[in-house]
């Protein structure tokens, strides 16, 4: 699994499932997700569940650090890394 592929799927999920309809956001792979309040501490759990369901990768809650979750890119890298470790 490529990090960018994962980031793309996450972008889709966040835009189409997580955010309320009226919230229109510019979202690229470097957008700071927390600073712009696109994600918050609880919404992250929904994203983690999405990752588990879609990529079959469990993100341990201990890994929910500001660095790992900074942007779609860093989240894609995290999931790809966990996937490699698991295999």
């Amino acid at each position: 699994m490529e990090p960018l592929q994962i980031a793309d799927a996450l972008k889709d999920f966040i835009l189409n499932q997580l955010l309320e309809d009226e919230q229109v956001v510019e979202l690229d792979f470097q957008t700071p997700l927390f600073e712009l309040k696109i994600l918050d501490s609880l919404a992250v759990v929904t994203v983690v569940n999405f990752i588990a369901g879609t990529f079959h990768v469990d993100v341990p809650l201990e890994h929910l650090t500001a660095d790992n979750l900074r942007s779609l890119e860093s989240m894609g890298q995290l999931v790809a890394r966990l996937n490699t470790q698991a295999n």
């Binding site: 927390f34 600073e35 309040k37 918050d40 501490s41 609880l42 992250v44 759990v45 929904t46 983690v48 569940n49 588990a52 809650l61 201990e62 929910l64 650090t65 500001a66 660095d67 979750l69």
Partner: protein, 450 residues
């Protein structure tokens, strides 16, 4: 050993849910039992919401029908809410706001031995009276208006229970004395077993409102009969909202002792000030009618060095009081009665009232309260984790099992171990997104000293 000449086999101090349920269990087995209740029932009491593990006790005692006839509101679940972007969540991490809502319905998890997906909210005046009357119907002797002063253990063959009636002193001899005196902890104090809890130092102020519109707080119309826990933007503080009848709602504010003022007037002002941090609740309550004076509860959260001894057993709040956040008080009282009754019946049958005769009860109830305690500690230490677990399909049912009151069968429930692991990881990692939400419980909160 000669058989001591006693008045009753078992004496129980206190006719609340713990005492009345135990008296019922013992009377059912034909054991001569006396209950000493200080008050004349009915009387008001805090602790109005139950958890489903209570149902097993009601079934065993043949009391479920009475619960239904009394038309106590059915409690189908619990809801936790927090204000959007309040101070607690937004003050020091990049303006982060955690609008938080979580709910559970008991129906989501089938519970062995519990045949319904709801429990009850109760007017404790009415509930306690009905349960004590039930004990009496089953054959227990009940003395109301009798305040026990002392239990004399000086004779190894019996306990002399001393109390005052009018101006004269009286005593009754029993083979075993059970302290079910609630937070007064009569024997815990007398025997010097009581230890104050240094971690939880909470106070509560509460009253009843008539005509409060419960749909105000309900995100979903069909959940007005749930218990609501509303977080406040003050450390470790929250509001309970409990339906008592169709129109009456019990509302209480729980907070740390340090926030709690000395005078009654300023405590009432504090209640309204705390409520006003949730404007929709404030307006709803102000528009309704307060129908009881404010009552406050302090000096809670303690443990006992031991909860059984030779010829003595402590149950319910008299054995331990943790914190009311998960509505556990009545359930622990009822289950304490259930568990202790087995040991007590055997003790009476074998005429062995040594401490070790009550070891099963002591071990099981300690295991259960330890699990409760840790669960509550996680909740206060890292609230967002609790909400995350409730929302996470991997953990939801395991959390629900704890919320249903099934805490006695496992030494260390895996879900609790997982929560503790994550709390520790978050504590150690300032970079973790939940680090800023850590509550200010002390670090050793997981090892209570009892």
């Amino acid at each position: 050993m000669t058989q001591a000449n006693v008045d009753f086999d078992v004496g129980i101090i206190g006719g609340g849910p713990a005492g009345a349920a135990l008296a019922s269990y013992l009377a059912k087995e034909g054991i001569s039992t006396v209950v000493f209740e200080r008050e004349l029932f009915p009387r008001p009491h805090v602790g109005e919401s139950l958890v489903p593990s209570s149902t097993r006790v009601f079934k065993e005692l043949g009391f479920l029908e009475t619960m239904e006839e009394a038309k106590f509101p059915h409690k189908f679940g619990a809801v936790w809410t927090a204000a959007d972007s309040n101070k607690l969540y937004s003050h020091d991490w990049k303006g982060l706001s955690a609008s938080s809502y979580a709910d559970v319905a008991f129906a989501e998890r089938a519970q062995p031995g519990v045949d319904r997906d709801y429990t009850y909210h109760v007017d404790r005046g009415k509930f306690d009276l009905l349960l004590l009357q039930h004990a009496q119907k089953l054959g227990a002797t009940v003395y109301e208006g009798v305040s026990v002063r002392h239990a004399d253990f000086s004779n190894p063959d019996f306990v002399k229970v001393q109390f005052q009636l009018g101006k004269s002193e009286h005593d009754v001899k029993v083979k075993l004395i059970v302290d079910a005196s609630g937070r007064r902890t009569i024997l815990g104090k007398q025997l010097d077993w009581r230890i104050r809890d240094k971690v939880f130092d909470q106070y509560a102020i509460h009253t009843w409102f008539d005509g409060y519109d419960r749909t105000i707080a309900a995100k979903y119309e069909n959940r007005t009969e749930y218990i609501y826990i509303h977080f406040l933007p003050i450390t470790n503080s929250w509001i309970w909202q409990i339906p008592i009848t169709d129109t009456i709602t019990s509302v209480g504010v729980v907070t740390q002792k340090k926030h709690f003022a000395k005078t009654k007037e300023s405590r009432e002002a504090f209640f309204w000030e705390a409520i006003s941090t949730r404007p929709e609740l404030y307006e709803g309550l102000r528009a309704s009618q307060q129908v009881r004076p404010f009552t406050d509860e302090g000096d809670y959260s303690y443990a006992m060095k031991q909860i059984t001894g030779d010829r003595v057993v402590l149950i319910g709040d008299a054995a331990r009081f943790v914190d009311p956040i998960f509505s556990t008080g009545v359930s622990i009282a009822l289950n304490g009665a259930r568990l202790s009754s087995r040991d007590i019946v055997r003790a009476v049958q074998t005429n062995n009232f040594k401490r070790e005769a009550f070891a099963n009860y002591e071990n099981t109830i300690r295991r259960g309260t330890k699990n409760w305690y840790e669960f509550i500690t996680v909740y206060y230490r890292l609230n967002v984790l609790f909400t995350a677990f409730v929302r996470d399909p991997n953990y939801r049912l395991d959390v629900l099992k704890l919320l249903q009151g099934d805490v006695y069968d496992e030494e260390a429930p895996p879900v609790l171990e997982k929560m503790k692991e994550i709390v520790t990881a978050v504590e150690r990692d300032p970079n973790h997104i939940w680090h800023p939400f850590l509550g200010d419980l002390t670090a050793n909160a997981f090892s209570p000293d009892f």
